[in-house]
Symmetry: C2
């Protein structure tokens, strides 16, 4: 009974993920996405795309990763992917996830923490595939939203292709091929920010 | 490539679940919950509570059910559980889910439709557990939101206990024991609508 009560308390605690606001907007909506509905979307997307992973994946583990991958944001907040690899952000998310999982009874929290770290490190087949899937919906959002965050945060095509090409093709080459075609069409529609080739010389 | 493109189109189509507004509000938020973030929440909750199912469950199947169980609402809308068992609503949800899953390539749509129907029928161990979990968050919302929908829709304690007691204990007796204790406390705090014992005689 005490264990179930602890899990129910955890269920209430993670409600806060519904208040973590992301940068893109769901297709057709004028509000920003939150990290809870994003987690649902990538979890189901991973299931649908599992047969296209570069290497065989354990889809049950991948789905679990998807469900918990953003929980660190409850304490740390969401950051745009093009800026999100700083050590400070990583540390804040780790601290947040440790606080949350400590609420769970028995070994559950420890097991989920191990899985969360595996996702973050992105070095196993399951984590590579999970990280690939995680990148797809924001691209679909922008394609269907006139390049909303690309323009807002001044992200040029090269940067979108470089980061997402590396991340998605590491998990699924064939998925990247399909997404790249969609992005090429976005380019002809001028959905990306204008490139700024002189930036490097101006900012040493 | 065509198959992946079809799945990407499906991923865009189901974005609409983020626009399906439910009756309760996430804990701490002043807006109503949407069915996409709810689907994430019950999927993760099922995983955490799997060991308390009355019968052994295949948690991977249960999680898949959770991810898709509300997709019929994209076309049919959300209805309050205390009114949701009419044939019209069931028919509209079935029609909606058939339209959606027809978008998927190969046998994926058919497999998911079979799983969705199993959830709806609630006659297997997996479906009974999934349906039990699905009932818990709205109760936790109300308990943490001064009985918001219970008061708004005039749902008295007896009705809350009857429907949820049957549904949750069918999937997990021990989960219902824990939830019942929480609801008993809600009763002492007057979070339910006042009962109206004369209703039956007034409405033949």
């Amino acid at each position: 009974m005490q264990e179930i009560k602890a899990i129910l308390d955890f269920m209430v605690e993670i409600e806060q993920l519904k208040a973590v606001v992301r940068k893109t907007r769901p297709v057709g909506l004028q509000r920003h996405e939150n990290s809870a509905e994003h987690s649902w979307h990538v979890c189901l997307s991973a299931l649908l795309l599992k047969d296209y992973a570069n290497e065989p994946v354990d889809i049950h583990r991948v789905m679990k990763m998807m469900l918990i991958h953003d929980l660190g944001e409850i304490d740390a907040g969401d950051t745009i992917v093009y800026d999100s690899d700083t050590q400070d952000i990583k540390d804040a998310e780790l601290k947040g996830i440790q606080r949350l999982f400590a609420l769970l009874p028995g070994t559950q929290g420890e097991e989920l923490l191990t899985l969360w770290k595996e996702f973050e490190q992105g070095e196993t087949a399951d984590a590579r595939f999970a990280k690939a899937i995680d990148r797809v919906p924001p691209l679909l959002h922008n394609v269907n939203d006139n390049g909303y965050t690309w323009k807002k945060y001044n992200i040029p095509e090269e940067k979108v292709l470089a980061l997402n090409g590396a991340r998605i093709s590491a998990g699924s080459e064939s998925l990247w091929e399909a997404v790249k075609e969609i992005l090429e069409q976005a380019s002809t529609q001028n959905l990306f920010a204008k490139s700024a080739p002189s930036d490097r010389s101006e900012t040493p």
